[in-house]
């Protein structure tokens, strides 16, 4: 029973001061669903530069410390291979304009440590984890990113029951996995299909066709935010809209629980995404 959420500001500005705060409110309002871990990925195009950030967790006697390495485009493959070969480190994010932060514990503690409420951007996603199929560690916490493409993040509620089969097939294609979480397979699959087809909607549709089990996930790329439910709609997902005020711009929001939309006033145009049909919002 994880809780997921996403938000996209509905105007052409790239750096809104409200995104972190709105996501934090949405996460705290869904805290009742899960308490094992919390994380966000926030997109701010004004952060983009020629260098990439590779983030990983290093384990030290049961404690995990977050590491960040800068890399140029030319050295990216070399740095990622070196990280993969380093036994003590677990990759968790490849970033340019995205900032991905995740920790074990409650959403309010994530904010205390990383000032999520002060993060700016155009869109973002958040997750509250209750551990079901893998250990309570920072690297098993969502969002999941990939080394295939930078700036892709997914948050997931549910189970991918044919995870082993999908993972095996992606590994045969040459893609690396860094955790034992079934949610990572969504990120790797979607990123691999975006790379292959250059079409986000097609990537999500292929995942729906291939994946078994009950799931709803939200996937973010630099220009899109998608909510995707399994073909039978066995996990919830709700979308709402806030038309904006003098204090903040209009925005779309999506979440597991209605409480997350309620707390940020995204209660107009409430709808539920059709099972098996990705609902995608593109940055203006």
């Amino acid at each position: 029973m994880c809780g997921i959420c996403g938000i996209m500001i509905d105007d052409a500005e790239l750096r809104h001061p409200h995104v972190g705060s709105l996501l934090q409110d949405m996460m705290e309002s869904q805290q009742i669903r899960a308490q094992d871990g919390a994380g966000v990925a926030i997109f701010n195009k004004t952060n983009s530069s020629e260098t990439f950030r590779i983030k990983s967790f290093r384990e030290n006697e049961g404690n995990y410390v977050s590491n960040e390495t800068s890399s140029s485009q030319e050295k990216l493959d070399e740095n990622l291979i070196s990280l993969y070969d380093n036994d003590g480190c677990t990759f968790f994010s490849l970033e340019n304009e995205m900032t991905l932060i995740k920790e074990v514990g409650l959403a309010k503690d994530l904010d205390k440590k990383h000032s999520i409420r002060k993060m700016e951007g155009s869109h973002g996603i958040g997750h509250l984890r209750i551990a079901t199929s893998s250990r309570v560690t920072p690297y098993n916490t969502h969002p999941f990113s990939t080394t295939i493409l930078p700036d892709i993040a997914i948050v997931h509620n549910g189970e991918i029951t044919n995870y082993d089969m999908l993972r095996d097939s992606l590994e045969l294609e040459g893609y690396n996995f860094y955790t034992d979480s079934d949610s990572e397979v969504i990120a790797v699959f979607v990123a691999s299909r975006i790379l292959k087809h250059g079409d986000i909607e097609r990537a999500h549709r292929e995942f729906i066709a291939k994946a078994d089990g009950p799931f709803t996930y939200i996937a973010a790329t630099p220009d899109s935010l998608a909510i995707v439910r399994d073909k039978f709609g066995t996990r919830k997902g709700i979308i709402g809209y806030n038309p904006g005020t003098k204090e903040h711009p209009p925005f779309w929001a999506m979440a597991t629980d209605l409480s997350a939309l309620d707390v940020i006033g995204a209660t107009t145009k409430i709808e539920t995404p059709h099972p098996g049909k990705p609902k995608i919002f593109f940055r203006n």
């Binding site: 805290q31 009742i32 039978f232 709609g233 629980d257 409480s259 209660t267 409430i270 539920t272």
Partner: protein, 302 residues
């Protein structure tokens, strides 16, 4: 009429919130006892601290206090209660009365998961907003009206027993997946229902006045679903044409919500007079000639 604004409880808790979480619980307990006459159970302190790290931000506190206040007011003889600012709080209206109680409850806002679970009441509970998963889950008796939409599992395990006929539910803006899942009785009238509605039904009536649905009635062994032509039945269910008796069933079910739906000509409704005019919704006129029923496929039952 009694009005409870949950934001007042939130404000009280936030005023008391301190770094001393142990003490915070007892200060809040005394304040709630003084203001509302309800007693916080000690177990709540442990649960709140374990799950949420403090007392004031724990949603289970607000669930507990809200339900305790409703229960207390009920016992004092109040039969019209309004709740303001629920903010999709889980499990409001889970009251635990063994015998049916008689009161109306109005919720001004959205309700969270399992609103009215295990309910056993006479009267009407109205939600002026949306409702989340498991509305009236395992309900025994009562009438619900949802002005907005309801997410998954509306009327799940709707109970019909030797002393109750189940819960009657109207959802004006439609339900998501698995409405009336495993229902053993009761009635649901909705303007749209998602995949697998009526899954494993064994009794009760689901009337879908919205668009045709998909995979309705998978594994059903009893009960009936009335829905527009074009709905696909799930495994173990089959489509049949309406007969005279079905029109009587539809009429009796809609009669429960006649006042809410403002149906003009319900008394004249029959297999020969199949159109109804709903005057307070956008679906002005509905012709039940366009409807069919989904029932258990006896050929697949053992």
């Amino acid at each position: 009429m009694f009005v409870l604004d949950i934001d007042e409880i939130r404000a009280l808790a936030s005023e008391i919130a301190s770094k001393d979480v142990e003490n915070e619980f007892y200060v809040l307990k005394n304040a709630l006892l003084e203001k509302y006459g309800v007693l916080l159970p000690e177990g709540l302190k442990i649960a709140a601290l374990e799950k949420f790290g403090d007392i004031a931000s724990a949603p289970i506190l607000y669930e507990n206090v809200t339900n305790s206040i409703i229960r207390k007011k009920m016992q004092e003889g109040e039969n019209n209660i309004t709740i303001k600012n629920p903010r999709a709080l889980y499990r409001i209206g889970v009251l635990g009365f063994l015998e049916p109680v008689n009161f109306n409850l109005t919720i001004e806002g959205n309700v969270g998961n399992f609103f009215g679970a295990f309910c056993n009441f006479y009267g009407t509970w109205t939600i002026k907003g949306h409702a989340e998963n498991g509305l009236a889950d395992k309900g025994y008796c009562g009438k619900f009206v949802v002005d907005g939409l309801a997410t998954e599992l509306v009327g799940q395990n709707n109970q019909s027993t030797s002393y109750s006929h189940g819960v009657d539910i109207l959802v004006r803006k439609g339900c998501m997946e698995r409405a009336m899942a495993q229902a053993r009785g009761g009635n649901l009238v909705t303007f749209g229902a998602g995949f697998n509605s009526g899954i494993y039904m064994s009794d009760g009536i689901l009337i879908n006045l919205g668009n045709p649905g998909e995979q309705f009635g998978s594994g059903m062994v009893g009960g009936v679903i009335y829905t527009r032509q074009g709905t696909t039945p799930g495994k173990g269910a089959m489509i049949k044409k309406l007969d005279e008796n079905d029109y009587v069933k539809i009429k009796n079910t809609l009669k429960i919500f006649e006042q809410e739906l403002l149906i003009e000509n319900l008394n004249d409704f029959s297999h020969t007079n199949t159109k109804l005019v709903f005057t307070n919704i956008k679906h002005d006129e509905i012709d039940f000639k366009e409807f069919e029923k989904i029932v258990a496929d006896e050929n697949t039952m053992h």
